[in-house]
Symmetry: C2
Subunit: 334 residues, 2 copies
Amino acid sequence: MDITELGTGILKGDRRALARAITLVESRRADHRAQAAELLEQLASSGRQAMRIGLSGTPGVGKSTFIEAFGMMLTGQGLRVAVLAVDPSSARSGGSILGDKTRMERLSRDPNAFIRPSPSQTHLGGVARRSREAVALCEAAGFDVVLIETVGVGQSETVVAEMSDLFLLLLAPAGGDELQGVKRGIMEMADMILVNKADGELKSTATRTCADYAGALRLLRKRPQDPAGFPKAMTVSAMQENGLAEAWSEMQALADWRREEGHWSGRRAQQARYWFEQEVQQALLAQLATPEARQLMQDLGDRVAHGDTAPASAAAEMLARLEGRQAGGTGSSD
Amino acid sequence: MDITELGTGILKGDRRALARAITLVESRRADHRAQAAELLEQLASSGRQAMRIGLSGTPGVGKSTFIEAFGMMLTGQGLRVAVLAVDPSSARSGGSILGDKTRMERLSRDPNAFIRPSPSQTHLGGVARRSREAVALCEAAGFDVVLIETVGVGQSETVVAEMSDLFLLLLAPAGGDELQGVKRGIMEMADMILVNKADGELKSTATRTCADYAGALRLLRKRPQDPAGFPKAMTVSAMQENGLAEAWSEMQALADWRREEGHWSGRRAQQARYWFEQEVQQALLAQLATPEARQLMQDLGDRVAHGDTAPASAAAEMLARLEGRQAGGTGSSD
């Protein structure tokens, strides 16, 4: 594969080149990883920045409908929109796959939109790196907005927030008791809460829910990266395409404020450093992911579990074996 | 240091040998780590098992008073009791130190008790390993009960639960609204909830609080390692020494049931394997903890943060430098 040519294609906005490059960063092969690093380094100097919008919501809140309606609104304004997904469970769940094009039929046919499902990996760390690199590729390809969606379970929200400029939480109208269901940590990550399905019979419930969340958000500690009024709760109807323009306008206002105050670039710098550190750590731990290392961990773990040896000496033996293998020159990469 | 002699001292129940051995496992020096591993391996075959009781509670619930009263009751029955602490924040907080002997004056003078404060490390992983090894040393020294206390914040509860046979949550009497303050994850780890301060004016509040928690515990999914009625909520008064015998009796009943059903040894095996895996992972990551590695991570991180290089290529450079250093033969250990 000619990496320079691939990079040129991406910079020209060639969708096939972009798709091929994402496949490359999703590969676990060591030679592919090296090529991916070369490509990303080449593109790092493009200077292009998209607005990276993280979006989380549990199944059933209307995430696909929202992304389709919101994405179509943006492309209608002449903006180019990429949709990526972070879903470490997709390989196992067998259920609906995030970023599946059939869930967003109109948007997937839009020449100004690009939709890519989550890589089918069960390891969150692996999914996270590949998604982050896919975001960087989409930026280099000149997309104006990159939407990164995830499901509201587990740690994937943290991962998505760490690669986003803005983080949105999409929620359904609900009774007051259910408000507790949103974890405080997730609330604290959100820049905006959008209560969807503010239409038909649910409209008044949505308005009430929104007021409840607005109240909950006011109880949170003020963050330096927020102007007055943020984090904010709003109602939308993705189905009726109501409130989407207002939500987008608020996102832009927040982005403008952060850019002016230096929080935008500050956050990007912090995120880049964090991803670098994560990548180093995961590369070190990847030594344990080879079939031989797994087997050895299993065998030594059995001995420890049976009480035949102490954890410390078994660990020392494992490390000695890893070093021996390294010295032999048979490295591996995840 | 003669490790065999030290081991013999511990097996004889020599308190000074035990204290010296704990200091050894707390050391970060590579030669000390090797000696610690040798000692633990030597003691692994002692076959002695204490009842390891994890205890968590936020400051102010009366943890020290409880441990002192509970410990004195156990030593009064002829049992030998060790008290250890897991507190990754102790070095920074400057506040009351867990396991501080002045907090448990009577117990600290009891010849059948041994109290050891938390090692002064801020890194939870390091504190965790040292505490787990200290537990193993106390077991080999013939203690019948090892109490491992921690504060009810952050991840230290998970760490303590992973080295305990039973996990207790000590709580204060509180209004119904405050019940939500206990995180669901912590509730799910608890084998017993003890509502302390069931005395004087707070007695009726404590009883009501206990009933609330009992209700909350009944809503949790049944765990295979629990007999009927567990996890259980009870009231105690550490100050008036009320309910301690009843609580101990329930702990023994739970322990007996788990031993008969095989859950006791199953959990121990699982824990040992987990600690072995943790130790291997941390040893790999310890390569990043040397002063040179930290500096290099800082410098490369700066370049990434400034957008001068992509995270993937900076990570590749870091790994190459680490391998180069390893080849040079200057290893280090945390």
